[in-house]
């Protein structure tokens, strides 16, 4: 199943059945004027095609339904976030990180905050870290729900998508309670959080985890054993271990191909070493494996959320560092010094010492990295964002060589390309 299913081979097998011979002895006499041999057509798929999520474009040379050769293009939602990173202060840039991978904006917020904190050498308090971990895993669940849901919609399984989306709406209600926004959260600050989680939030999250576990089991039983789903996904869009390494794939897509790497486990960031979770790994690297890895990861993330909610204790959420501490509103409204501090903080920003760091974290899609070069001053000299989607999308062309257009749609849905972090 894993080798490319070329049109030509299928034709010979069909004729073999008709002629009653083994397929290597079949001879097909073609009329030289027959268009069949030369029925190649160049098709432009996207950037507004419904199957090309967001605004991606593929130009493919088709032989019948088979993609013989193709190339991909992107940049249709380029928003110059890297240039903005050099023109905005470190504090102002937080809002732009939301719009990277907008399905899991909280992870981007947290990673960016970690990157700047690493440059400044700031340690955040325990409660802040635990809440950040809950946020990350909440965002990961949402991202995976969208990915598997949309992938299923692309292949015609609409009700599966509705189950996931309802649960996602409930998660958004939780995030709304946390920071007032659904999608673009901007919840973290450098060295802290926008504000503490509301009272009783942890308990609500735990209730949500319980409900979601049931829904995930339901979704699992709805689709995973479905024979049509198997036929549409198994052996489709195969990208093996070597190819994954060559094309710098990371995250669930690489784990589906047998690369047992998860930065949460392998790099000791935050308190991930204090919680128990498994890293699901599959071997085939096809659409089905990516789907099942994501589904299993949702379960693991729910476990992590439940553990974090148990461990989070009341306490401060801000690092005690005068440089980055946003003054409390009470101080700002009542004292002159507070007002000046507030004004200086938001107008000029704080200085980050010179240096450079490449900070990574396991985002929902893979290795999300911020490579920040600072030359001192309130603005970065270089703000490079390594979005995993760029590298995944690059693998689509070799992956789809020789497959059908419909399989390309399945493969594209399964690698979860997010236009925001693809184009930046």
């Amino acid at each position: 199943m894993s080798e490319p299913r070329s049109n030509r081979a299928g034709l010979f097998e069909e004729v073999a059945v008709i002629q009653g011979k083994p397929s290597d002895q079949v001879s097909i006499h073609r009329d030289p004027d027959d268009l069949w041999d030369d029925a190649r057509v160049i098709v432009n798929i996207g950037p507004t095609h419904p199957a090309m999520h967001g605004a991606l474009r593929m130009v493919a040379k088709l032989n019948g339904e088979t993609i013989e050769k193709s190339y991909c293009e992107f940049g249709y939602t380029h928003r110059a976030k890297e240039k903005l990173g050099e023109n905005r202060t470190y504090h102002n840039f937080i809002v732009y990180t939301d719009r990277l991978n907008y399905c899991s904006a909280l992870i981007n917020n947290v990673t960016y905050a970690m990157a700047v904190e690493k440059l400044m050498g700031i340690e955040v308090p325990t409660r802040c870290t635990w809440i950040r971990m809950v946020c990350c895993e909440l965002a990961r669940v949402i991202d995976h729900l969208i990915c598997v849901g949309i992938n299923a919609v692309d292949l015609g399984a609409f009700s599966f998508f509705l189950y996931g989306f309802h649960q996602r709406e409930e998660a958004y209600t939780l995030i709304e309670k946390l920071c007032g926004a659904r999608l673009t959260t901007s919840y973290t600050r450098i060295g802290g959080l926008m504000h503490d989680a509301p009272e009783g939030w942890e308990k609500e999250v735990k209730d949500w985890v319980k409900r979601t576990r049931k829904v995930i089991d339901e979704m699992d039983s709805l689709l995973t054993g479905n024979r049509i789903w198997h036929q549409r996904t198994k052996g489709v869009g195969v990208f093996n271990r070597e190819q994954c390494l060559q094309y710098s794939w990371s995250g669930p897509n690489a784990r589906a191909a047998g690369i047992d790497r998860d930065l949460r486990r392998d790099q000791p960031v935050m308190f991930y070493k204090d919680v128990e979770f498994d890293v699901p790994v599959a071997q085939n690297g096809d659409v089905f494996d990516r789907y099942s890895v994501r589904l299993e990861e949702i379960r693991q993330s729910l476990n992590i959320i439940a553990q974090c909610c148990d461990k989070v204790k009341p306490g401060p959420v801000w690092a005690e560092d005068k440089r980055i501490r946003i003054p409390d509103k009470e101080v700002v409204h009542n004292t002159m010094e507070g007002l000046i501090h507030h004004f200086k903080f938001f107008m000029t920003g704080f200085d980050v010492p010179a240096g450079e760091a490449y900070t990574t974290f396991e985002a929902a899609n893979g290795e999300l990295g911020f490579y920040i070069v600072s030359k001192g001053g309130p603005r970065a000299h270089r703000m490079r964002i390594r979005g995993p989607s760029v590298w995944h999308f690059q693998g689509l062309t070799p992956m789809c060589q020789g497959s059908k257009v419909a399989d390309m749609v399945a493969a594209l849905g399964s690698i979860n390309i997010i236009a925001g972090e693809l184009d930046r």
Binding site: G54, Y76, T77, H78, R99, L162, H166, E169, R182, A419
Partner: protein
């Protein structure tokens, strides 16, 4: 013929009836490019359910749609594509500019981003927010429906002007 150029009681009633039909059966073309596209999906999905307002028949072909929902950022590379899609839609057509990026460029006042899609295509209704909450989108849809019922949208005004011009030419 009446003073304002409209032609009599019967056709006015007929127009109102047609507008009523148009208003309650909008077929959107979701032109979702970025973050707003996700919120648009949420609006179309079961929890908010745009079908309650007669706008659930999503069509990805511009020939079959009459409401273009531009959800997300349009940059210099995308703007001509958007114009192409708009030109392919058949009249009367309406445009909803969904979110801050599409309406004004939002927080992205940079080299690549078109500062508002109204520099490329005419827009009937703007939805503020980054991204707008689904309730906001439904509100915008209802306001657009009101305007369609009154015949107060750009496409309908264009249509009426054309009709008047034809009548004048016929004498």
């Amino acid at each position: 013929m009446a003073k304002d150029g409209s032609s009599g009681f019967l056709t006015t009633r007929l127009d109102a009836f047609i507008n009523w039909g148009r208003k309650n059966a909008m077929w959107p073309l979701p032109f979702g490019t970025s973050c707003c596209g996700i919120e648009m999906m949420a609006t179309l999905c079961s929890d908010y359910d745009m079908a309650r307002f007669g706008a659930e028949a999503v069509r990805f072909s511009p020939r079959q749609a009459d409401l273009l929902i531009v959800a997300g950022i349009i940059n210099a590379k995308m703007a001509p594509v958007l114009r192409n899609v708009y030109d392919q839609m058949s009249d009367p057509k309406w445009v909803m500019s969904f979110g801050a990026c599409a309406s004004s460029g939002g927080i992205f006042n940079v080299y690549s981003v078109t500062q508002g899609i109204d520099t490329v295509i005419p827009v009937d209704v703007y939805v503020p927010g980054c991204p707008p909450a689904p309730e906001g989108v439904l509100h915008a849809l209802l306001r657009l429906q009101d305007r369609v019922a009154r015949g107060d949208t750009l496409a309908q005004k264009r249509e009426a002007a054309l009709k008047r011009a034809h009548q004048t030419m016929r004498g």
